[in-house]
Symmetry: C2
Subunit: 138 residues, 2 copies
DNA sequence: AATTTCTGTAACTAAAATAATTACATGTAT
DNA sequence: ATACATGTAATTATTTTAGTTACAGAAATT
């Protein structure tokens, strides 16, 4: 199962976007997510590096650096997910075997297609869409 | 990253399908995959439960119970992957917060769409396709 | 029938990933 | 100066994954 960093990051960005007036501390956000403030700060660090938000050391609060309509879930996913490949492929299959020799490149192509399909869905949804759903669900 | 069980399972099934005459032991397959025979037997156990192959205790070799054209990668994936959900969502967000209260159901829908897109790709490719690619790559 | 060889499966170990936590240097505001 | 925040390193606990050992029992061979 993929880790929860995308889920928590969407939570963080939704909170910031829905309260543009308030400066929310990592501790406050952690209270909404129900985790440790350091977990939040690590994620905002990655989101800042990806250019999705701006923070100031020592100063409470974060600002989005793009409009919610411009932030896709794929951008968030890429910002906080270190792994390039979704599926693992076993290493060192036997090169003396016709299957072992070619299975990696074959699966590489297949898995890449599946991954791209997933990423296309993540790219089709923006933070604005998420906020709309959040508001509807209320 | 998703575990390598799908990759290894495709390897196993490709080997069996490409040598319908030979009875391959878990030890032989393990030699091609480059892992421990028990890892192979665990996977063939799951594949057998899913109705993709037949084995006999004490007797070497396994037989496919469907034609390679009928076995999709999604069937294999479902056979060896225990988790229902691809993405994790953080538990116990704060119900007193409008975002915390609704983030789970919102992300649940979003992640389900992404997962379905991935699974549709896995469903579109069969073991026969994989074997075709393996033969071409040689 | 005895032996060999295999599968199925439980139990254990090792390594890696994830999240939570502690600690602290440093920046900002009053 | 003090209070309070962020950024980040280091540590710990938990879970997942894969590899391994061990062995009961099925099948084939002699």
């Amino acid at each position: 199962m993929i880790n929860s960093r995308l889920a928590v990051s969407v939570h963080i960005l939704s909170l910031i976007a829905s309260h543009p007036d308030q400066a929310m501390s990592s501790e406050f956000i952690a209270g909404s997510v129900n985790t440790n403030p350091v977990v939040i700060r690590r994620l905002t660090g990655s989101l800042r590096q990806a250019g999705l938000l701006a923070t100031t050391a020592g100063k409470s609060g974060a600002m989005l650096t793009k409009r919610p309509e411009e932030i896709t879930l794929l951008m968030i996913y890429r910002a906080v997910e270190s792994k390039d490949n979704l599926f693992s492929i076993h290493e060192h299959p036997n090169p003396a075997c016709p299957v072992g020799r070619n299975i990696q490149s074959t699966l590489d192509n297949t898995f890449m297609r599946a991954q791209r399909a997933l990423e296309a869905e993540l790219e089709a949804e923006t933070l604005a869409d998420v906020m709309h759903h959040l508001a509807q669900a209320r």
